[in-house]
Amino acid sequence: MYPPNFDYVAPTSLDEALAALAGAENTKVLSGGMSLIPLMKMRFVRPTTVVDISRIPGLDDVTDDGDHITIGAMVRHATTASHPLVQEHASALAEAANGTADLLVRNRGTTCGSLALNAVAADQPGAALALNATMHAASVRGTREIAAADFFLDAMTSALAPDEILTKITIPKGGVSTYRKLGRRGGSSDYPIAAAAVWVDVSDGSVSDARIALNGVSSTPYLAVGSAEALVGSDGSADAIASAASHATDGVNVLEDLYATVAFRTHLAGVYVRRALEDVLA
């Protein structure tokens, strides 16, 4: 199926790309295209101009920047999944990337593209929330930083403006994290029916800080604040974990679809928070 007609530009510098986005109505940024191209084929989106950022040098690096790591806009899922820096400092994101779609899609699709799109149930936005990632957006108007907690607004909606490019994300080092999901096909691939990304910092035998994010449970990923509150200050025991898991869907509008009822998905949310926490606190 052919997508509708569009104008295509493939700039070789960020400034040119930003100018192209600012200078046209109804534009879309193309990185790996694993979501945008199918969406265009199905006529869910019909951009007049597609700005391909894959030929801009310097966007495909994962770097160690002292107290944080940086993942560029063109870093593909396969790289995020296997890169030693991501595995060491942001293992929840590496695991989420490794479970994104299938190998062929991971070879093309990008982490930043997945975050910018915020597809319902997508794996990596949950991990970005738990890891307290900072989103770096650029436009002709300048650059700005957006906290992950302020970035994922609703299904298929992020805080990016139409003329902005998510040029990179940064993730602070420290703590330990993991990602656990139930995939639709029973394994780790494909969109999750429910998934938990957890990050904890433990000192002197007690949990000094925690962030627990869920995706696939509601229309957009969210931080389970009650779960984190139940855990912080505790010894990370089975009781503390059970208490945290019991707050996984507090105040959340849980999705119902052909994969799970509200009751089952609510149950799964608790199960996956518990399993993820058992893993990082073992």
Partner: protein, 166 residues
């Protein structure tokens, strides 16, 4: 737009619309109909080709994105009349039934064996994760890849494909 793409070693310069998908460029402009259009949504992997050494789904890539790239399709894997070991493995181990998924399966398998000469059964299954087959249950496909791997390593391929768990 003018694109220049090397396909199976031959350089092609073509004028294409930005919306032309790579799979349609291969099939309709170059006449290389070995690459199949299956689901056309990015799920099934029948359209898998290797772009700059990496297996990808050509129904979800624009031809203009492949400008300057080196593309390999199923037509390019054999050495003249001599089958590629992966093709031979699919032949010997009955790795296909209807054959529709086979070009994509072969390209994913070729790419897998190029980066991992001796994959375990699990690694083979992970390597063809993006390719759906509705006939075989994958069992004989895994055997076919084991056969090909053994042959490419210079081992006896007939012995290699018998250890797959049912």
């Amino acid at each position: 737009m003018e694109v220049s793409i090397t396909v199976n070693g031959a350089k092609h310069s073509s004028e294409v619309e930005p919306r032309l998908l790579l799979v349609h460029y291969l099939r309709e402009v170059l006449g290389l109909t070995g690459t199949h259009v299956g689901c056309d949504t990015g799920y099934c992997g029948a359209c898998t080709v290797i772009v700059d050494g990496i297996p990808i789904k050509s129904c979800s890539m624009l031809t203009v994105q492949a400008d300057g790239c080196e593309v390999r399709t199923v037509e390019g894997v054999a050495n003249g009349p001599e089958l590629h070991p992966v093709q031979e493995g699919f032949w010997e181990c009955h790795g296909l039934q209807c054959g529709f998924c086979t070009p994509g399966m072969i390209m994913s398998s070729v790419a897998l064996l190029e980066r991992n000469a001796n994959p375990s059964e699990t690694e083979i299954r992970q390597g063809i994760e993006g390719n759906l087959c509705r006939c075989t249950g994958y069992h004989n496909i895994v055997k076919s890849v084991q056969y090909a791997g053994a042959k490419m390593r210079g081992e006896d391929p007939k012995g290699a494909s018998s250890e797959v768990a049912s």
